[in-house]
Symmetry: C2
Subunit: 307 residues, 2 copies
Amino acid sequence: MSAVKIFGHQNPDTDTITSAIVAADIESRLGNDAKSFRLGEIGAETKYALEYFGAQAPELLEKLEDGEQVILVDHNEFQQSAENIGNAHILKVLDHHRIANFQTESPLYYRAEPVGCTATILNKVYKENSLEITKEMAGLMISAIISDTLLFKSPTTTEEDIDAAAELKEIAGVDLESYGIEMLKAGASTHDKSAEELITGDAKSFDMGVKTTRIAQINVVDVDEVFERRAEIEDAINKQIDTEGYDLFVLVVTDILKSESKVLSLGKESGAVEKAFDVSLDDNTAVLEGVVSRKKQVVPNITKALS
Amino acid sequence: MSAVKIFGHQNPDTDTITSAIVAADIESRLGNDAKSFRLGEIGAETKYALEYFGAQAPELLEKLEDGEQVILVDHNEFQQSAENIGNAHILKVLDHHRIANFQTESPLYYRAEPVGCTATILNKVYKENSLEITKEMAGLMISAIISDTLLFKSPTTTEEDIDAAAELKEIAGVDLESYGIEMLKAGASTHDKSAEELITGDAKSFDMGVKTTRIAQINVVDVDEVFERRAEIEDAINKQIDTEGYDLFVLVVTDILKSESKVLSLGKESGAVEKAFDVSLDDNTAVLEGVVSRKKQVVPNITKALS
């Protein structure tokens, strides 16, 4: 039997990559043969975290065979997962998202909690199994929590995330604020990215009733840096709408210092954003004050507006 | 805010009823306002267990309003749940089945483990939260474990179920074997039931690809007691196939002492049972040696045969 493959979602972010590494550490320590993988390229923020704590990036998952044993972290929706996931044997899921477009033939271990970050759950799993947490794993979990909660500013942040980060920083030996801002900044530059990269880097598809919605998010420290390139970005989005058949494509450009987002809404359902957030689109854009979380704010509101 | 409603699946069995009661006890002890409900009539086996341990049966759930807060135990598939479950706000799921036809708009607490019984997971939850277990709750959890594992004979039985029952019997003060056989026998008589009751008492629907399959199970100590009434039972099944549009209806009559089942397979896909279990149907019936578990043996095999 080959090692159980552990991976997060497509367009991997810091929580998805580090949670795959950390979950593989937990499985190994429990005596199970497991290996972490990634479904795509690693971003600058995640690279910063991996290098800072001396961790190796997981290998790219090339192909998933029918019946292969897998553990999913930080996602469950099949359209966000590996190709052929529907034919794999899913042993476990460790996640903090809504559940949708997910099914198995057999009973499994599924652990989801409505917390800000998968790493917060993994920290509990270490403790429940009385496993010591290394400095490297603590650092990776902290990085995931900072990334997913935008340094505790996102409304997805829970007391449990804050407590987990406070525990883990002692083991990792870092200052949350200064390490966190450096890590977030490392991922916030858009100059070195093509329009295509910007709209696919952290993008997820959602089936919302009969509509298919694509929501891409970019975290920045300067929103204008993105919107100065609007023509080029809009072309890239419209190309994806044509080829993938999205009914709605929302680009969410989040200012991580101001804790607000400017959105660009395209596609034949672009008006859904007005209903979803009670705003008027101006040339297909709107500023959404206080909106920083795709999961907790953008997806539920658009889902309701489309249903 | 009204109390969170906790309930198991339609056609409630002992695990579903007792897990709703036990989960409500846990929530209350954690300071949350919660109340157990049932989605149908309580069977003789469950009645025996409730009376033995002096527990009250949950109220029948009459109606679920849009947006009501609920906790599901012992199931997740919407077609096995309350009407209007798709519009409820599901806070938690505690279950031990495959996941399918389940989705939420928001993140939630979901805990599934591939163990034989929901009660085995609830026993862990008590311990993780350092809550003392009363004699009544221990007795209900033991009853659920015995019922779902057919006194540890079902292949769904795990070490964890056996360990949980061993712990709980000390608190409940019963002998597992003698209490278990009396409880199972209390639910195994078919004389007092109409054909309609026999095929609906413990029946679940499953979407299997494009086919809809209904699988009803009866636990007995004498298989012939059921098949002597075959004509009447077959009429009742065919009526349901007509009105509900099932592609396949499998009645699984399980001999709890011999640990085998005789099935009656009807509907336009009745042949699927031959492929599923590598048997030949004789007049639409077959004896399946060693098959006692719908979840672990019947559903996966028929799902594969139909896909």
